[in-house]
């Protein structure tokens, strides 16, 4: 699957360029954070990588081949919560893999213990707090042992304590051997979690560098302005 080479990737529905010739390479380990202003194409990039959206142009090479049938998972900003128990929701990820119900529940309980939600296994999932829902969604993805995990602003609406707990789980998933590509607007989170940063603006990669270097010596003007909070709000809305 690795390295994942993205070359000339563009996405332009109705002639509006959301992604415009994105090039980058992802190795087989670590956490890469995608930063950028609203409308820069961050979420679209994740959607293309997990096969939800077809690019207009360009290609993605997965270790020299096509995208594998399994091994890529994505956690959304507002994850799906079925009207069922926490345990049933977390075990759901194993259903398409043909795992027997009893085994799904056994593995589900094990992962709930790792994320600190075992005591709520029988509770209704839609009644969980925002932070608990995100932890459950991460656990659901983790349970399938993905090689690549795509996270679309998983802490966007969480308080600092819930954010810290989600970040702890993300680190644990990474330690477990999963490659992580994550979109965030939280610069503090980027410094805490990211091994490297991809900075997208106007549908293009302006910078792809190590986290420390990105914040101490950004090379692009857009990145420098973004870090300073002065990037024009409409940069990402090119017609």
């Amino acid at each position: 699957m690795f390295p994942i080479r993205i070359q000339g990737l563009s996405f332009a529905p109705q002639d509006r360029a959301v992604l415009d010739g994105v090039d980058m390479t992802l190795g087989d380990e670590g956490i890469t954070l995608i930063l950028g202003p609203n409308g820069a194409g961050k979420s679209v990039l994740l959607r293309i990588l997990c096969g939800l959206v077809e690019p207009s142009a360009g290609e993605v090479s997965w270790g020299g081949g096509a995208r594998p049938a399994r091994g890529v998972m994505m956690v959304f900003q507002h994850p799906m919560m079925l009207r069922a128990s926490v345990l049933d929701n977390v075990a759901l990820g194993l259903k398409p893999l043909g795992v027997a119900v009893a085994e799904r529940r056994r593995r589900g309980m094990a992962v709930l213990e790792r994320i600190g939600l075992a005591h709520r296994a029988r509770d209704s999932a839609p009644q969980l707090s925002g932070g608990e829902k995100q932890r459950l969604a991460l656990a659901r993805a983790w349970l399938t042992r993905p090689r690549l995990l795509l996270l679309d602003e998983p802490t966007a609406s969480l308080d600092p304590s819930a954010t810290a707990e989600v970040e702890r789980i993300i680190r644990e998933i990474r330690t477990d051997g999963t490659r992580i590509l994550m979109v965030t607007h939280n610069l503090g989170q980027a410094t805490r979690l990211g091994d490297d940063i991809v900075f997208l603006a106007d549908g293009r990669v302006c910078e792809h560098t190590l986290t420390q270097r990105f914040f101490s010596r950004p090379t692009s003007n857009e990145a420098r302005l973004f870090i300073q909070g002065e990037l024009p709000w409409n940069l990402g809305f090119r017609s």
Binding site: R47, L52, R70, M73, L82, G93, P126
Partner: protein, 232 residues
């Protein structure tokens, strides 16, 4: 006469009149069977229409919606033609039996239940489609997952089907024949007894019919209320 009709009707109910009990029991069996079959066929059909991507999907949705208002006598005649001795299914000898009535009512409730299920499931599908796709759910796994998730909302479809089946008279009259102690159900009995002038029995059966529908609606309301509190 008006007061005495109701007094006699209550007397029939209070004494648990055997004729009334027999007719009510057959009605419940026939309509219950039809709704059970309608649930097993109509709900997955509606969910498939919501989730599936196939040529003619919009046409199929329009067709199902249109068939919701299918006149019951038309269904009765069509089923009659199929089940009559010279019809393609005549060899089974089902005409003028409760089975024929179940078949006719099932055909009536399937489009109604499928159309409601399609709408309910489609709303949820729009929210869950991407996540289920990422988890590599195939279409059938998506259908079963969504039906499970919508189970409390789909009670509306089941109730609508039950209401249609229990209140229907034209189709069961044609394929059942309204034979005493064989195929006489509440609606056909009400129609017959009214024409004969035996209004107390007709009123008694009418009250039972309304009571059953109210009780089932109350049960469904309570279940939905419980589900809302538990699952939000």
């Amino acid at each position: 006469m008006f007061t005495s009709t109701f007094t006699d009707a209550f007397a029939l109910l209070a004494t648990l009149d055997e004729r009334v009990a027999e007719i009510v029991w057959l009605s419940l069996k026939v309509s219950g069977g039809a709704v059970l079959l309608g649930t097993l066929i109509g709900l997955p059909l509606g969910a498939c229409l919501a989730v599936g991507r196939f040529p003619g999907k919009n046409l199929a949705s329009v067709l199902v919606n249109g068939l919701m208002g299918l006149p019951s006598v038309v269904v009765g005649v069509v089923v009659y033609l199929f089940l009559s001795r010279s019809g393609p299914l005549g060899g089974f000898g089902l005409l003028y039996t409760p089975s024929a009535m179940v078949i006719a009512q099932t055909l009536l409730v399937i489009p109604l239940m499928a159309a409601i299920a399609r709408q309910v499931v489609e709303d949820v599908w729009q929210r869950y489609a991407e996540e289920l796709a990422v988890m590599r759910f195939n279409w059938w796994q998506s259908v079963t997952t969504l039906l499970y998730d919508c189970r409390y909302s789909l009670l509306v479809a089941v109730l609508a089907g039950l209401g249609r089946a229990m209140s229907e008279v034209g189709a069961v009259m044609i394929v059942g024949g309204n034979i005493d102690r064989a195929t006489r159900v509440m609606t056909t009995a009400i129609a017959l007894e009214t024409s004969k002038g035996d209004l107390p029995l007709a009123i008694a059966l009418g009250m039972v019919l309304v009571l059953i529908i109210l009780l089932l609606n109350a049960l469904a309301f309570a279940l939905r209320h419980w589900a809302m509190r538990r699952f939000g």
